[in-house]
């Protein structure tokens, strides 16, 4: 079950024609798919479209009613390959993933589907971002659209536009027999708003009905000679068909006056921020009443030569607002303008930055420069550049993402730090997932990350030298990455090539970084998926002989010893440790209501949390350097003689035990204590407590008297 539940929101997906739907962008996309009569949906979670997958998982009853098939795909490649259902049959299908990484994974299947073409409309929903929401390499999905020839939609970030373009996307796909991608930036996925709903449509043909009546066309399969046929078809049939559809349905929009000395062409997704920049420059208002012509590309690929030529004709210069690089659209605009024999100057990356998100501030600066150069009469007076306050720059600390309070992955890296103290620094090949936070303070562990599930593969070049001085490399992998592809690309590869490295698989029961979705090895019972397939079983099945499952990662000493053994055992071949403890974020979500209910029912409940005695803590913070738990913090030293802050554990502590175990394993300090609080104690608890308190109280009185005798 995922981190965020959409059970309540899902009810809104049932709204009928004319009703007002209110909610977030991603929910609107889901509703649009149902309004389009989609027959099947799949995808792989990842920000910002994780919630799309969660919405579908929570909407299972509604999907069943409508006869829509939904899969949590094993990977983006799986999801893309699923679109094969639309090749022979008029089935509408949609898949979703995080781009550009997911598109990379899916690209083999995408090339195939784009080559053979589709009969039913297929929509690929990708999340992409150049801003603070991005956690991946900054590349453009646009390149995939161009190289495989798939159409790319980039709707204006309001719910009505997004929903409309999802519906039109299916029609475009069918009209041109081509898969269509729709790109949403992070904030657009989570923008709130409303639109007028339509009725949900049952798919005219269900996947079951299609399978019952198979139908095949040989020339849709990518094999000579059909592949050459596809190439020609793409250019001669599908491309013009798409352009015709986009033009006829006016998918791109025009704003502002029809004529002007200069104009702006903008990617749909950036339209709102551009309008804000124009407004701040005195050229528009809150309702987009703009005083120079704007051509808004809700379809960023393909471009329409006639449309572009019409817009550029008579203008001295046109600014293209295009995020990311290379500036594919700008290149193509230059070609189109040249072919049309126009003298219009295309301005883009010469006034706007090549890298980074196009925020209002960035756009305003670029726009100002553009107008100063080409339409000085319109240019705003120089916008005062914002200068950050020098006084506080050094004081405001970075807040890198880190492990949550009580995270079971923390002790794994605490243990690794202890092993490095003994065996020296290790080469660590990191992977994608929460465990990648190990590269940040306080752990500073991890050399590279090569992609989801590729931790072990990323270490495969390393072979310990024979004899003394040889050192094994360590690879990290999450359970999510393991099932996504790590089992074959990493572990299978290591078995086959007789690698001698160590892999640690973090088995926390969820695809945690993407929002806590279930995976094959999840321990939760899931009504609609088969879970509880142990990782170690898969390891042994693929030929790993040295495999250990540690069921309590908080046992730091045990983790340390297992890792040390894996690094030093004479046994050849890959060594794999499965480090298993439940993701604390999800555990708390699961357990908290249960405990609260138990307390309410008067049942005996033990609550544990940790604390630090400020009078024995000397303020070295070695414990923090081995942990970094958000609940393990500092506070002013109560000792008037000391100036360094003491360590302190706040009430957000969930009592995972890591602090104490680290203090033990690293032989740190006696300041940590564990407090166990028995709520609704039994009669026995109370009796024992009464006796203990009486005797200890008596002894403490005597101790206090001795202290008083030495009082100042």
């Amino acid at each position: 079950m995922a981190e965020r539940s959409f059970k309540k929101e899902v009810e809104r997906l049932r709204l009928c024609a004319g009703e007002i739907f209110e909610g977030e962008g991603i929910l609107a996309v889901t509703k649009a798919l149902l309004q389009s009569g989609v027959a099947y949906v799949g995808g792989y979670q990842g920000s910002p479209i994780s919630h799309l997958m969660d919405v579908f998982a929570d909407a299972d009853p509604l999907l069943k009613e409508l006869g829509v098939h939904f899969e949590s795909s094993a990977s983006e490649a799986t999801a893309a390959a699923m679109l094969a259902a639309s090749v022979n049959y008029p089935l509408r299908g949609a898949v979703a993933w995080k781009s550009v990484v997911g598109t990379n994974v899916a690209s083999d299947a995408l090339s195939n589907i784009a080559s053979g073409g589709v009969t039913g409309g297929t929509l690929i929903i990708v999340g992409e971002d150049y801003g603070e929401g991005s956690s991946i390499m900054q590349e453009r999905t646009h390149a995939f659209a161009m190289k495989s020839q798939m159409w790319l939609l980039d709707p204006r970030p309001n719910l009505t536009s997004i929903v409309d373009l999802v519906e039109k996307g299916f029609q475009l796909s069918e009209a041109s027999n081509t898969p269509v991608m729709i790109e949403l930036r992070v904030r657009a996925c989570h923008v709130t708003g409303s639109f007028v709903a339509k009725d949900n449509l049952r798919p005219p043909l269900t996947v079951g009905a299609a399978a019952a009546n198979p139908h095949r066309e040989l020339d849709r399969i990518v094999l000579p000679p059909a592949n050459f046929l596809h190439e020609v078809e793409k250019v001669e049939k599908r491309w013009p068909a798409a352009q015709r559809f986009v033009a006829e349905h006016r998918l791109n929009e025009h704003f502002g006056p029809s004529e002007g000395e200069v104009g702006i062409i903008v990617q749909g997704g950036l339209y709102n921020m551009l309008n804000r920049a124009l407004e701040l420059a005195g050229l528009s208002d809150d309702f987009g009443k703009v005083s120079l012509p704007i051509h808004c590309l809700n379809v960023t690929y393909p471009l329409l030569p006639d449309e572009i030529a019409r817009f550029c004709a008579g203008k001295r210069a046109v600014l293209i607002v295009e995020e990311g690089q290379p500036e594919f659209i700008e290149h193509e605009l230059n070609t189109l303008v040249r072919r049309a024999g126009l003298q219009t100057r295309i301005v883009g990356k010469d006034v706007l930055p090549r890298a980074g998100e196009y925020t209002g501030q960035v756009l305003l600066a670029g726009l100002t420069k553009f107008l100063q150069d080409w339409a000085p009469a319109l240019a705003p007076q120089t916008v005062p550049a914002f200068t950050p306050d020098k006084d506080i720059i050094a004081e405001v600390p970075q807040r890198p993402a880190g492990f949550c309070t009580g995270c079971p992955e923390r002790p794994i890296f605490s243990a690794m730090k202890l092993v490095q103290r003994e065996l020296g620094e290790l080469h660590v090949s990191a992977d994608i997932g929460c465990h990648l936070f190990s590269i940040l303070p306080p752990f500073h562990i991890g050399n590279t990350t090569m992609g989801y599930g590729l931790g072990t593969a990323g270490a495969s070049a390393f072979r310990p030298t024979a004899g003394t001085g040889g050192k094994r490399a360590v690879a990290m992998m999450g359970d999510g990455g393991f099932w996504h592809n790590g089992l074959t690309s990493g572990i299978g590869n290591a078995v086959f090539n007789q690698d001698d490295n160590v892999t640690i698989i973090v088995d926390n029961g969820y695809s945690a970084a993407t929002g806590g979705q279930d995976v094959l090895s999840s321990r939760a019972q899931n009504d609609t998926r088969r879970t509880n397939n142990p990782i170690e079983k898969a390891l042994r099945g693929i030929g790993v002989n040295w495999a250990r499952t540690l069921t309590n990662t908080y046992d730091v000493a045990g983790m340390r010893d297992a890792l040390k053994e894996a690094l030093t055992t004479p046994q050849a071949g890959p060594k794999v440790i499965v480090a298993q403890s439940e993701c604390m974020l999800n555990k708390q979500r699961r357990v908290k209501p249960l405990l609260a209910q138990a307390v309410k029912d008067g049942k005996r409940v033990v609550r544990e949390r940790f604390g630090v005695d400020p009078d024995t803590c000397t303020g070295d913070h070695a414990c923090i350097r081995l942990s970094g738990c958000p609940s393990l913090s500092i506070k002013p030293n109560p000792d008037p003689l000391r100036s360094d802050p003491v360590t302190h554990i706040d009430n957000s502590c969930v009592g995972c035990g890591n602090c104490g175990e680290v203090a033990h394993a690293a032989i740190l300090c006696p300041s940590f204590y564990k407090a166990a609080i028995v709520i609704n104690p039994s009669r026995w608890d109370r009796t024992v407590n009464r006796v203990r308190t009486a005797i200890i109280g008596f002894l403490q009185q005597r101790h206090d008297r001795a202290l008083a005798a030495r009082a100042f």
Binding site: R276, G282, I392, V396, R399, T616, N651, E661, F712
Partner: protein, 499 residues
Amino acid sequence: MAQLDKRERITVAILALGGQGGGVLADWIIDLAGHNGYRAQGTSVPGVAQRTGSTVYYIEMIPVEPGDNRGEPVLALNPVPGDVDVVIASELMETGRAILRGFVSAERTTLIGSTHRIFAISEKSALGNGEGNGQKILNAAERRSKRFVGFDMDAAASEAKSVISSIMFGALAGSGALPFSLESFEAAIRAGGKAVPANLRGFALGAERAGGFVAQIEAAARPPEPTSAAGRRLTARIEAELPAPAHAFAIEGARRLMEYQDTAYAALYLDRLGMIGARDDGTDDHALSREAARHLALWMAYEDTIRVADLKIRSSRFARVQSEVDVKSGQVLSVTEYMHPRLQEVCETLPAGIGRFILARPGLRRRLEPLFAKGRHVETTSLGWFLALRLMASMRGLRRRSLRYIEEQVRIEGWLQAVREAARHDVPLATELLRNQRLIKGYSDTFERGLANFVSVMAAAPLNGGPDAAERTRRLRDAALADDTGKALAAEIAVALAQ
């Protein structure tokens, strides 16, 4: 920019850390605006950034009349510097971040910020003190905003038994930055439907506190008044023998050492202080005497097993734990310590002869060490362990004969000797040498690392003076505190040796 004054749009940026309820706050504001005739739009960035990082929720709202023919407003998804009407920050450094990112402007912005601290990992993991300077943020907040509403919203949340998001929502209402009534704010909380009574409590307190900026003035701790004859005698000595600026630390030092050992030990402390004080020429408000009083007391009250046991079993400590972990009446508390005394520490507690005898025999050590190889879970609230700790604490009477005591006194004397020598010709240098005591802290490995650093710094310090001797010593100490691998210190020592 000309249109700014007559604009109808209101923009709100919320800077919060993961788990602080920034999303809930944003939902309330959107609901509030919607029920007051505004078309509101919110955006956020969930995902990895939320895992303990800081994120920005952004809301825009604009009044829309029924039958308005201007069409749908085009609202932005990101705040633009100079264009934000209200900034709400959930923590002091987030308030600073809002200023740094340009969201706060003196012409436009009502800045609502909590003044409490949630420390970032870089601040927490420093070997010494790595905290950012909060006062600078408060100054900038006053200077850079149109109006700053700042108070400790975390404390207010505890006080109201509520959560910080409701306090922030209350502060927003109390600030009057939005043209909506208090009732409609409360209606938004009710519409949210979750923990309504607690949220309304927090809201009310937040609205009340927003009235004025509550400066946090910490009362300077006053030195304890003597209550016993011995205490009065020592106080009289301090007042007679030491310059006034050193009195506070010396009194606290004497008090601590009496409690740590006995009156004679406190008297030894004052004897030693007197010898340093004799060299004090008054530089920097008698820094030499002040720092001697502080650091000598800390060193003489070194943390041995006897001290730790003594502190752990006190009734005052039991009471502190009770309140810290929030034990309610009728609940039963047990406390377990994580202790790991190694053979080394055990021998150090034994009388010096026996301790040395064992430590000097590798064969014997090898046989004994396994007994102390594992950490102990010491349940202090159980009778057995309490008695064991009490027995350990009662070894105070034997402390003077322990190996550790003898070793520490030798180290202390050596250090004071170096300080006195330096003070002959360079009082600031001597003061810095005193401050080097700060390097020695912790237990076991940490203690050994600290002690080794102390020895290295003392060895590399320009004890005989010379230009910038004090400054060079300070640099060496800072380098020792820069990391726990010793890299920075080694580099600084290389520099020192080259000079």
